[in-house]
Symmetry: C2
Subunit: 358 residues, 2 copies
Amino acid sequence: MNKHIVLLPGDGIGKEVTKAARLVLEAVAERNGHNFTFEEQLIGGAAIDEAGTPLPEKTVAAARKADAVLLGAVGGPKWDHLPGAERPEKGLLGIRKQLGLFANLRPVKGFKQLLHASPLKQEVVENSDLLIVRELTGGLYFGRPQERTEDGSGVVDTLQYTRKEIERIVEKGFESASKRRNHLTSVDKANVLESSRMWREVVEEKKEKYPDVEVDHMLVDAAAMKLVTNPSSFDVIVTENMFGDILSDEASVLTGSLGLLPSASLREDGTGLFEPVHGSAPDIAGEDKANPLAMILSTAMMLKHSFGMEKEADHIEKAVQEVLDAGYHTADLSIMNGIEHGCNDMTRKVIEQITSED
Amino acid sequence: MNKHIVLLPGDGIGKEVTKAARLVLEAVAERNGHNFTFEEQLIGGAAIDEAGTPLPEKTVAAARKADAVLLGAVGGPKWDHLPGAERPEKGLLGIRKQLGLFANLRPVKGFKQLLHASPLKQEVVENSDLLIVRELTGGLYFGRPQERTEDGSGVVDTLQYTRKEIERIVEKGFESASKRRNHLTSVDKANVLESSRMWREVVEEKKEKYPDVEVDHMLVDAAAMKLVTNPSSFDVIVTENMFGDILSDEASVLTGSLGLLPSASLREDGTGLFEPVHGSAPDIAGEDKANPLAMILSTAMMLKHSFGMEKEADHIEKAVQEVLDAGYHTADLSIMNGIEHGCNDMTRKVIEQITSED
Ligand SMILES: CC(C)[C@H](C(=O)O)[C@@H](O)C(=O)O
Ligand SMILES: CC(C)[C@H](C(=O)O)[C@@H](O)C(=O)O
């Protein structure tokens, strides 16, 4: 297959891990007879520096035409003094909205070798394997009005959803659950919010279509507790934008594998933007110390979700698992009796695995 | 001193723990020459059953005249079928708003004997001792509009604050920090919300008045992570209503002492409503199995915050600590080689300690 991929390296270690992703994808293409073409564009701080805005039109136009987008990371202290609307994160929020990337998928899974780095007790966290499906283009993030009163005495933000927006993300939650362990937890605050009450209704309606999926409703405060006390009780969580932001970050630290977590942000037609959950880590940028695995696992999500290449995605995931099993790790991880590698060498190890798997 | 206290036992174990609180307060009064008078009123499911509404006018009127209010717990499966506006929780939301209880204080502290029940590793959680100061009468909980569009195609909730509301809760955060370890973490989502940007400005302004307090700003998603990875890095957290709801519940499970956590909801004049963090536990209601300690510790918060009785509050806290040190516990807690007691006997143990302390 021919696929065109837009690369948005962004800032800090974003550049290094994006290079790693490209090398891995070239190896996958070669092995499987695909033809992947790549195009680099600017976003975040890099875009502010070179083009005066965190999200140049050219970037959006290129992303619109691509089969998928890979993003490294945005932000860093260099741009921290800028006012809100001009900061690197605005590039991220902007591209989500402009491309209609409404469904954010964040899998959290423990790697056996890294569980010892979890803040949780081994017996609490082992066997955790959950997926957060977060609505990404609505709610408090984009609702209007979002403004101060004229005299400055008050302020308002708006949590806004159309029923259609709720329906499509809830569907995504059910679909995801039906491909996994058939358990969906819908998280809301229906005892307080009208939007949550509509959310609950939509979940109740949609569940008729998925008779095999068991559905729970859980309040967001209860979910924040249960993620800590019993993370392995979850399969798929579906929730609105802000709740998803909070819960997915909370979930990301449970297994001690933050440096390995990928994410997907999908459009209705299946194309999407894929990025590691970790940030731009400006303190180690350019030193060949970055951990490329979260970005490499993000390319696996891209192959699966946007290109329908399940087998190729599995190859990548298996390769990462095998590299960890062999004890290789970057400086951010620690594996007992393991061998520390830089970003380049780790990437090479993964590629060797991919090339040699059968 | 003469003090009049309104008791709102509410539902489930709320009744038992409220009785325990009264006995403890009578012992404190006797020992210290105070005169506490008590008056019981209805709230929650009990009020629905007897008066047809979760918050009768009579309850509000009595609470307004009281020096402080003690609340047991509200809710239970019996009322779960009722539509949102008629449910027991509405009593709680209503009394907060009508009494102007804008500041919710939720201390989270580990008890050495119970740390083993924490989902976190001992070395992560030990020494945790934090206080969440949550805004309780504004934000998404009470902002208007909160409604569907006429044709049902959309829905809106409103996150609304006046600058004054932000100022008074931020002040409460600074005051609390200055009485503790002088470290305030203000939690917001300033990279997305206009209300958070105003919040940050107010914190920056107010900090001039508290030169000894060190202030951090932290995004809510980062705070949700850090509570799990490094809870002992926090002293006081101040945040808006919904973020506070989520983070305080997340924090409540960290130390394995959920059954022991008290809370205070304060008005500007210092009076307030005090209640345990745990719920109504309908499954064990009426069986003398409830743990009265969270409620007893809530009375200590009442003595300190509403009556200025620091010494008496310390007596209660010390008594609870000593009862635990001696190995006494209720069925919800487990202490190695401890002695299990019911609600009545635990209460008696605490009272014995209070009476015998010097
Ligand atoms: C950078 C920020 C605006 C963003 C968000 O809140 O969505 C980030 O936290 C995320 O989760 O991708
Ligand atoms: C019962 C509910 C409305 C309430 C809240 O969200 O404030 C509860 O979760 C709490 O934290 O006291």
